[in-house]
Amino acid sequence: MVEGVSYTADEMMTVTAARHLRDGQVCFVGIGLPSEAANLARLTHAPNVVLIYESGTIGTTPDVLPLSIGDGELAETADMVVSVPEVFSYWLQAGRIDVGFLSAAQIDRFGNLNTTVIGRYDQPDVRLPGAGGAPEIASSAREVIVMLRHRRRAFVPEVDFVTSVGFGRRGEGRGGHRGAGPTVVITDLGVLQPDPQTHMLRLVAIHPGVDVEQARAETGWELEVADDLGVTEPPTSEELAVLRDLKARTEAAHSA
């Protein structure tokens, strides 16, 4: 879309998230987009990033992306494998995780995440999978990177259910949780960060070719835009090649 290198909005999102991981960081990874981004980082600028999946696989270096959190690939390429109670207590709760990656069905303007229900809890319109590891990742990881596609039904003024806490229903803050919470929200349209004072998410960067009005239209609250709004660097040909190769290997492995 820019200067002849063509890429999709999802690829832009994954590449942006991968760039947020620094080499050597310890990262708690979920399945899907976060797993894609974390492994892209590992295969490009951050070869020493330590990936931990909640199945207890620590320091895993999968050759293909896992479909589930506990594919054999993750165990066989790990430095070590611990039990599930151990991964949540000794590793996550104790504060040994630098970055947690999360996604959600809904996010509100204060970075609270919903993966439980759409509608009322007792009579849901849509029953979502639930909490999984997310609440404790949100509270105990030093910082949280949120990844989700920018759509109005997902970016809501108030989530139907707070599964994982960002800055609280009224933006009151972290409520004593040890981690810093969601420091960045990466979407397929741009990048949002919480305002240091109000904790409200605001647009700090836009992806190339995306209009600010488009981001506003896909956000369910009055989206504030940073004065010094940036434009994301488009994916490099190396980033795209590594990502596409990883996804092709994965596709082939899972349909075998």
């Binding site: 479909l67 506990g70 599930v84 109670p85 999978p129 609440p135 105990s140 599964t163």
Partner: protein
């Protein structure tokens, strides 16, 4: 001392209607054969306990075996929804399903407390989450530092069922790879049933992190080779990711689901029959086509 038996007898003798059952295995070593046997024996009013209900509980819930579900994440990993679970929660079909839901860390803490013989466990968590209004959790103060922590009640299933790679002839259980929460779930339970890939003279001791349940903690052992399909048993089988993807289509429609269960579970003598059938990819289209 563990008793060697068949899966059919173990389920008939040790899983009466109305009990609480934990079939654990975190993606790896999910005891699918046992789930199928429970369906085949038409068990009712069970309280099903499992961190990730997965396809195994989608099958049990869809067949109306469960009254209540205790869990922390109810999706089809990497694929999407568990449609039979959703249908039960959203529409009460085929029967209403009571939920007791926690986070993974909460469930793991509850099992560990149960295995330790403690009344409750503690963790940092839940504060600010709406889960607090809908589940069994209380904030308590540390008597030494004053820090507020979450207390969750111990989880002690009547029956825990797991699948492992091996048992030796004394009934010691060898299990390795992703070990999940199986040791805690087993030690927290009154009755423990273990299905195994094989019974061996001596357990392999070269795995990366062998977990062993000693024979005196196990009630019954039944050999079921391949008994974790479509999950897997490290060293014996690979996860059938294609099956998990196909399950989305099978479970979405209650009639297709019913047809699938009849052909693959109810019409089969045992899990061996199911395994032969899943190897025949043409059979699926035949069954779903009606």
């Amino acid at each position: 001392m563990a008793e060697f038996t068949t899966l059919r007898e173990a389920v008939a003798d040790l899983v009466p209607d109305g009990v609480s059952v934990a079939m654990e295995g975190f993606t790896h070593l999910i005891p699918f054969a046992a789930g199928h046997e429970v369906i085949r024996q038409e068990k009712k009013d069970l309280t099903l306990i499992r961190m990730t209900p997965d396809v195994i509980y989608d099958q049990l819930i869809g067949m109306g075996c469960a009254r209540k579900l205790v869990f922390s994440w109810g999706g089809n990993p990497g694929v999407g929804s568990l449609h039979r679970f959703r249908d039960a929660v959203e529409n009460g079909y085929p029967r209403p399903l009571e939920l007791e839901e926690h986070s993974h860390a909460g469930m793991a803490t509850r099992y560990a407390a149960g295995a330790s013989g403690l009344p409750f466990g503690i963790l940092r968590g839940y504060k600010g989450s709406d889960l607090v209004q809908h589940t069994t959790v209380a904030q308590i103060e540390c008597p030494f530092t004053g820090e507020e922590v979450a207390a969750v009640p111990a989880l002690n299933p009547d029956v825990t069922i797991i699948h492992a790679q091996q048992a030796d002839r004394s009934g010691n259980v060898g299990l390795w790879g992703i070990t999940g929460v199986q040791r805690e779930a087993a030690l927290a339970a009154t009755t423990v049933i273990v299905t195994v890939e094989e019974i061996v003279d001596e357990l392999d001791r070269n795995g990366p992190n062998h977990v062993m349940l000693p024979h005196w903690t196990v009630t019954a052992i039944a050999p079921v080779p391949g008994g974790s399909h479509p999950s897997y048993s490290l060293g014996y089988s690979k996860r059938d990711n294609r099956f998990y993807t196909e399950w989305d289509r099978i479970s979405r429609d209650p009639d297709l689901f019913r047809r699938w269960v009849e052909a693959y579970i109810l019409d089969q003598e045992d899990f061996g029959g199911y395994l032969r059938m899943v190897q025949d990819s043409a059979a699926l289209e035949e069954v779903l086509g009606g």
